[in-house]
Symmetry: C2
């Protein structure tokens, strides 16, 4: 079974949804046969690589709220993050571009470390309010989960994996996703948004039984031949 997850590094519901799916997976008896693939999605492709404001300030400006109002608006998400026991400094997180982070996630997939890098990037952004567009930060986080430093530098210096990021974004659009997180199980079932654990559990069970069918047989052997002869 394969779960593809479209998600952005700076998307709070993506991080909350990640914990909920992890809870559902921990309860799923066939969890060892589930592969997770992280797909790229950029909420704001125009976000700067050198941030000038926090995500909250950007929000307040965009929606003409005071910083206090913007912080309050994010209160429900922060409360849920607290419930999940996550460290959460989102109020200080910078409004930053994620293209390079996604390119490194594709590199990590090649090296079998994508899950580790995804978690580390989300924690860097939400738990530590770091600038995930900054190459020094990206380098530290990526090598911290075991990626080869020379390859990380090489990817960051060029445009490698840009086409892969774009292909992911296009695929999300093809699936009709208008936001993230967006989950696709076995290219058959979609889940839009950070749904409750129970919803993830149901989809996992459904996809599993689809992938492991019991043979449904039509016909009871009339017009057939067996060891005792043929139907006549």
């Amino acid at each position: 079974m394969r779960i593809e997850i479209w998600s952005d590094v700076v998307c709070p519901w993506c991080y909350i949804g990640k914990r909920r799916l992890e809870t559902a997976l921990a309860r799923f008896p066939h969890r060892d046969e589930v592969e997770i693939v992280w797909r790229s999605y950029q909420l704001d492709p125009a976000a700067p690589t050198e941030p000038t404001e926090t995500a909250s300030e950007m929000l307040a400006r965009k929606y003409r709220m005071t910083p206090a109002q913007a912080a309050e608006a994010q209160g429900r998400v922060s409360a849920l993050a607290a419930e999940e026991g996550m460290r959460w400094r989102h109020e200080d997180s910078p409004h930053a571009n994620t293209l390079d982070a996604h390119r490194l996630l594709h590199l990590a997939a090649e090296e079998g470390r994508q899950g580790e890098l995804k978690e580390a990037l989300l924690d860097a952004y939400f738990g530590q309010a770091r600038n995930v567009a900054d190459h020094a930060v990206l380098r530290e986080v990526a090598t911290g989960v075991g990626l080869d430093a020379a390859r990380v530098d090489e990817v960051l210096a060029g445009r490698e994996f840009e086409a892969e990021v774009e292909a992911d974004v296009d695929q999300a659009a093809a699936y009709g996703a208008s936001g993230v997180p967006f989950y696709v199980v076995d290219r058959k079932y979609g889940v839009s948004g950070a749904q409750p654990v129970e919803v993830f559990s149901q989809v996992l069970e459904k996809a599993w039984s689809d992938a492991h069918p019991v043979l449904e047989t039509v016909g009871g052997g009339e017009d057939a031949c067996g060891p005792d002869g043929c139907a006549i």
Copy 2:
């Protein structure tokens, strides 16, 4: 899509069922993406390689009928064969062992000629009443569909593919098949017996739509982030 068909070379309903499936496939828009695999099944593993009676005589003896009664009992099958426009001399077909024929069908699968050999063997037995246990007959039929004569001789001289024949028979039992023809589509749908064309058509459609699902999505994007921000 893959259709596995358990069938014996001396099974009249298998031949009739083959024509019916072919008709369903001819009407199926995705027929070019369907692969057929012929699986081995022996109705009578104890049948002789040097026949001493016809299949009808064997039946008459086994069920204490007169030859005329046995011929009459096969009347419905013969009528259906005539309807399908098949040449049919089944009343003269010998009661013969099919192990070697099945071994050659496995060889033919390796050489990409299995469909051709299956048809040729069925016609040799039902259309020409030939002894499909005889090595000279088997050699002629197999090379007639393009199999390499040296490989055919090599296989016939030894026990090659016996394990494959046995594995096929075991798999049929595992699926709960008690006779043939027995069809399995994508290891998901079974068809037992030479069902009407419409039944094959329905199963083909069902398997196709299973294999080419439209994404079913749960959730409408609540608790998600999009280009205009995050749900709060």
